[in-house]
């Protein structure tokens, strides 16, 4: 190119200079695929939810928020998802702090990954055997003299709650552990050198550094727990106390064949998840977000 005139440089070279060339095109199939099967269905669902079978544009939403059988599912699901998320976090934090000090974490993490792999359906079937009135769990408690009659843990709130903790805990634990491993041990050692005990080191050094990571973990675990479906049907009481929002969406779509209403419920489900995530992330924005990785930050 003898001239400095920009337009005389071929388009191909100008694009390449900005990072668009033949190689970049390799990600086009993936982008098109997700636009077609993720973004489009979402937008389609959003539009469909405003085109109800009968009534005006907002008829679906009006119906949802005026029928306690429908809007009640939000409360029911939150009442399951929030305690489950907090419980898994409270379990995961001390265990992650313990495991962090271990040299060989592989066996333990492998055991803890098993519930993710088995999935919710198998855990539900297992708990139906294990927690039943004649199951091993109740037998052990009765034999140990802790209780006199079997505890009812199935087909109610507790069955769903326990299955969600079992399937949700490994994920929460692995995330917490990986965030914790990102904190430079030198920071804690410095605290110890200056005379801080374990509790003080946790309170003043590790916990504040871990908190932003815990906020992300909370969001991800909550969103997973909020979309509970198979265990709420199999282990809970899907007609009453554990009629979660995904059951309402499923029934609208596949029992009443009202896809418009089903889309509206799915959109409401997404909105509630988004609202909680936004609140948690906004709170996270107020936390310390400086370097914790020592050298990398």
């Amino acid at each position: 190119m003898s001239t400095t005139d920009l337009s005389s440089i071929p388009l191909k070279q100008r694009l390449a200079a900005r990072g668009y060339d033949g190689l970049t095109l390799l990600c086009v199939p993936a982008i098109l695929f997700l636009l077609a099967l993720f973004i489009y269905p979402f937008l389609y669902g959003l539009v469909l939810s405003f085109e109800p079978k009968q009534g005006g544009m907002f008829a679906n939403y009006q119906r949802f928020f005026s029928d306690s059988f429908l809007y009640g599912t939000i409360g029911t699901t939150l009442w399951l998802a929030l305690p489950v998320t907090i419980a898994t976090l409270l379990l995961a934090i001390p265990i992650a702090f313990r495991v962090r000090l271990m040299k060989n974490q592989r066996l333990l993490t492998t055991i803890l990954v098993i519930p993710i792999t088995l999935g919710t359906v198998l855990v539900a079937q297992g708990l139906l055997n294990y927690l039943g009135p004649q199951g091993w769990f109740n037998r052990v408690l009765i034999t140990a003299g802790i209780i006199s009659t079997p505890v009812k843990l199935l087909h109610n709130y507790w069955g769903v709650m326990l299955s969600l903790v079992i399937t949700g805990f490994p994920f929460t634990f692995l995330l917490t552990l990986s965030y914790l491993s990102g904190i430079d041990p030198a920071l804690e050692q410095a605290g110890a050198t200056l005379g801080a005990g374990p509790w003080e080191r946790f309170k003043h050094i590790l916990f504040p550094l871990l908190l932003p990571g815990l906020a992300i973990t909370f969001c991800l675990s909550f969103v997973q727990a909020f979309s509970v479906f198979p265990s709420a049907v199999l282990l809970g009481a899907p007609a009453g106390p554990t009629r979660v929002i995904s059951i309402a969406a499923y029934q609208a779509a596949f029992e009443e064949y009202d896809y418009s209403m089903a889309s509206a419920v799915a959109m409401i489900m997404g909105m509630v998840q988004l609202a909680i995530v936004v609140v948690v992330l906004a709170a996270r924005g107020m936390l310390y977000r400086g370097p914790a990785g020592g050298g990398k930050g």
């Binding site: 993720f38 269905p41 079992i166």
Partner: protein
């Protein structure tokens, strides 16, 4: 770390280990209950069943048409693995090697299907797939399952590709390799461990993926986990033991692949990578 010998510290450690132990004991208790029940002749109100038998396995095999279900399951799973590899690996390569305006948006597009739970996007997706006629048959199930697995492959592969020195590729170019040759002879062998790990995890994920398959499958395109759900859902019609036998078959198919996958990857690393 600093050695601490105070009593309170030791008690706290003991409490933590009790917690871990309690979780693991209950987890294995639950799995053992399923396995025991699947071999039981009659198991009512006692610690262990009255007798042992393997007949529930043949009963389950016949009752639930497990031969067909397994065949369908593996066809779906292998299609999902192959296609997500074919779409995902090149995309990951492009994203690892090029920086372009709009890359952040593209990364967000790949992150969303992993963060949004399957049941939330599954219902609109199933609606679209039913209206286009894909749902109810195998192609619909495959398409639905690809939505989270393609981004998964991309996000797992990007760090793998980034750690390969670009000088190796330049050297191959200098010696006259075209993009295809470069890919087959240089990149593929170097990336093999990463691709294998990513695809094995996709395999395990797809085997265990209930929601998307459940929403899009028809009677002839059910995978094992969906068939298991229907069996548990309609419990009472059939003997518990034969459902448990089916659960054990499902458990074995999944765990074998998990063990193979874990030989190649450390679960904490995967999570650490995915969060970037």
């Amino acid at each position: 770390m600093v050695k601490d010998t105070r009593l309170s510290t030791k008690l706290w450690a003991a409490a933590n280990w009790t917690l871990i132990g309690f979780f693991i004991v209950n987890l294995f208790g639950m799995i053992a209950a399923v396995v025991t029940s699947s071999f039981a002749t009659r198991w009512l109100g006692t610690w262990l069943p009255a007798g042992w038998t393997t007949r529930w396995y043949s009963a389950a095999w016949a009752e639930f048409q497990l031969h067909d279900v397994l065949l369908v399951t593996f066809q779906i799973v292998f299609l999902v693995v192959a296609i997500s590899g074919l779409i995902g690996v090149p995309a990951a390569y492009a994203l690892a090697r090029r920086d372009f305006p709009g890359k952040k948006l593209v990364m967000l597009l790949f992150l969303l299907p992993l963060l949004v739970p399957p049941i939330t996007f599954g219902i609109p997706l199933a609606t679209v797939l039913y209206q286009t006629g894909f749902a109810g048959q195998m192609s619909g199930v495959v398409l639905a399952n690809l939505v989270p697995t393609v981004p998964f492959v991309i996000l797992v592969m990007i760090p793998f590709i980034e750690q390969i020195d670009t000088k190796i590729e330049s050297a191959a170019r200098v010696f006259g390799a075209n993009t295809f040759k470069l890919f087959i002879h240089v990149l593929l062998p170097l990336l093999m461990p990463g691709i294998l790990a990513a695809l094995l995890l996709v395999l395990v994920r797809t085997l265990a993926m209930f929601e998307l398959t459940f929403l899009t499958a028809g009677p002839t395109s059910q995978t094992l986990v969906v068939a298991l759900y229907y069996a548990v859902f309609a419990a009472g019609v059939r003997a518990v033991q034969s459902i448990d036998a089916m659960a054990v078959i499902y458990m074995i198919t999944t765990l074998i692949w998990l063990i193979i996958a874990l030989r190649f990857v450390n679960p904490t690393q995967i999570v650490a990578r995915a969060k970037k």
